[in-house]
């Protein structure tokens, strides 16, 4: 089977501790092109990424994990890659598991690397509530370990996707509105080696995330079928 032209997109903020070994591992195993989006790091993340052969896209200021990811998706779309694998830089997502995502690439538009064994009881309650509210049949909605094909890249490069706050339900609901198929595959994940979650790091940010996601669920639960809206993406 021919190796697809894949770009690995890694948003990173102060991940100097983990980024080097991660990039080396990906290069050795797959030889894919890698883009690291430096989202306002204050440490040597960008320099280490360059040393390890990645293209670094430096953000002028931190835009958050989703918008950093979108920078990578836009870069891939402009350069006609066949697909993108997004993953975290903190060591949670394992390069060995990329094969599981790639194995489903020909069948669906978006593959989500799912690991529902992680997360606290409360996080599981939140995931299940959002799943029921939105009607999206994805168990691990916050997983950033995903594979997007070209059709998904086109949708997610659009201006409307820049309005989303997180790479979770909003992204999935948008893709569903556009009729793209989504599938989960079970993958193993490690504990975060460095850094902290940008969502679940304080009660305030958790509350803000929960409210924002609940509103996204409620407003977009019924897929948009308006041609004028859908035309914005094509």
């Amino acid at each position: 089977m021919a190796i697809p032209n894949i770009l690995v997109v890694i948003p990173a903020q102060d991940e100097a501790l983990t980024i080097g070994p991660l990039l080396a591992d990906i290069r050795t195993r797959y030889g894919f092109d890698i883009v690291v989006i430096d989202d306002g790091s204050t440490d040597a993340t960008a320099a280490i990424a360059r040393e390890n052969g990645a293209v670094v896209l430096p953000h002028l200021r931190a835009l958050g994990a989703w918008k950093a990811t979108q920078t990578g998706l836009r870069y891939a779309y402009n350069r006609s890659y066949e697909g993108v694998i997004t993953m975290d830089a903190d060591g949670q997502h394992l390069p060995t598991e990329m094969a599981a995502l790639l194995s489903r690439m020909d069948s669906v538009d978006v593959v989500i690397g799912s690991c529902i064994s992680r997360g606290s009881f409360l996080r599981h309650v939140a995931w299940n509530s959002f799943r029921i509210m939105s009607g999206i049949n994805v168990k691990d909605i916050t997983s950033g370990f995903r594979l997007y094909n070209l059709a998904a890249l086109r949708v997610l490069s659009a201006k409307e996707a820049t309005m989303l706050e997180f790479q979770d339900l909003g992204v999935l609901l948008l893709l569903r509105s556009l009729g793209l198929s989504i599938e989960e595959v079970n993958v193993a994940m490690d504990e975060r080696i460095s850094g902290k979650s940008r969502i679940f790091n304080s009660w305030f940010s958790v509350s803000s995330y929960m409210l924002t996601t609940a509103i996204v669920c409620l407003t977009k639960a019924i897929p948009l079928r308006d041609v004028r809206y859908l035309k914005r993406f094509y």
Binding site: V56, M163, I215
Partner: protein, 135 residues
Amino acid sequence: MSSPQIIGAAIGLFIGGIIFWLIRRDHMVSKDGIRWLLLAGFIMVYGAFPKLNDLLGEVLGISYPPIIPVLLGLGAILIKLLINDTERVKTRVDIERMIQRMAMLEAELVQMKAKVDKDETVTIHRDNVQSIHSK
């Protein structure tokens, strides 16, 4: 429920509906929507149960004057704020997309510079080889 109460609740519901539509059609980000939906809910409850106003007035020692012009003015300001919010979102998205584009262009510049440096090195090397051969 008297008709002013119904109208008050309907105004809240109407604002809530507009916010819902604005978020759904990506004219407003969900984070801003939270504030507006809370406000709409507040107007709805307050409109439906104006006695809350009397209660509050009693607690604070303020009477309840018929201030319709003031309310109309506040309504106009509310609409203006809503429009401002949607405009602000557009500007914010444009700025964020510019930051993304700048990042892409910067990377491209670095790559082009590296390529030029490499080409120059090759040219210099070739010139050196040619000069050695010509000697």
